[in-house]
Symmetry: C2
Subunit: 202 residues, 2 copies
């Protein structure tokens, strides 16, 4: 198997294949043998690189979170007005969804999957992003762009709105009858609702 130059890191191949398989099916529905055959390798090799199936799963989830965080945090680091930055953040989130649907499915699954890194940890990690959003909102409150409120709760609310769209899209289970629709349009609706909700108003 002398592939491109070096070994092309079987380890990464395993992670990629496992991620794709875990994304649809979850932990239990995917056997180690499945991963091996999908990657064109032996089961033994998986155990050469990873202690056990659990560790492999946790590694996949953790790396997905990392990639996810990188993209999201970047979008929040501009220095435009708070409202603009929030809109940009949501747009980045949506773009991430388009490009990494399997990754999103994996993360959403892992939230309520009793295996793998505890639900607590999955969410705690992504709370690094919640914190950033929270900071932006606090800035907006300080400048008077938003009404005075609990910025942490507001950040949580924003996540709730966006993640619900994600979940519906990614698990192919649109909330209610009305199927797909334009996700950008739905995101715009949620964004408007949110900004109006935290805006100053009589």
């Amino acid at each position: 198997m002398a592939s491109d130059g070096a070994t092309a890191s079987a380890r990464e191949r395993i992670l990629a294949v496992a991620g794709a398989l875990f994304a649809d099916g979850g932990f239990d529905a995917v056997s180690v043998a499945d991963i091996a055959s999908a990657g064109g390798i032996s089961t033994g090799l998986i155990y050469y690189h990873f202690k056990d199936k659990q560790t492999l799963y946790e590694t996949v989830v953790r790396e997905s979170i990392h990639l996810f965080e990188g993209v999201a945090v970047e979008a929040l680091s501009a220095d435009s007005a708070p409202e603009v930055r929030l809109r940009e953040f949501i747009a980045a989130y949506m773009r991430l969804l388009e490009g990494h649907e399997a990754l999103m499915r994996l993360l959403i699954r892992s939230i309520s999957d009793p295996r793998g890194p505890a639900p607590r940890h999955v969410l705690m990690r992504s709370s690094a992003i919640v914190d950033r959003v929270q900071a932006v909102i606090e800035e907006g409150v300080a400048t008077g762009a938003f009404r005075s409120l609990d910025a942490h709760m507001a950040a949580t609310a924003l996540f709730a709105l966006i993640n619900t769209l994600m979940t519906a899209r990614v698990l192919d289970a649109p909330l209610g009858q009305r199927a797909g629709g334009d996700i950008e349009q739905q995101a715009a609706f949620m964004t408007d609702l949110f900004l109006k909700g935290i805006g100053t108003c009589s």
Copy 2:
């Protein structure tokens, strides 16, 4: 059948025990033998009452949804002003959470669980509730209490806000560092944000 104290219907005992076990653990982590021993019965009896494990799981989930719907729909059937009815609905939702935590955990798990009734069906069912909420919002739009908007999307947004609180509470994974806090208070925050978001405003 005599629901009087005596035998208490083995079938219902199985459903209750299975529900509790599936709620923390999910489909795969619970074996039929686990359910049998927790219920103090034999594995064979489970197969006497249910075709297979899958069917048992689906029955448990479906009955949970049914109970859930009953409570939720009732709260929406009052004839007060739309805004009041929405507040009452959310309060009922919260009360339901307090009394049936395991049930909520089961439903939340089942949404992203590839087994059991397809995710699609779980959400579609509860879309009966979304529809009711939507109707209330449409009423509010008609009377001018709310601004003109897509009532379906708005209903979805309300669910997103409430369900996120639920999920965090029920899976013991508070979003972000700040732990528990008062859930009633959090619900109030979400409600205010939502009502402000759909309200008429300059």
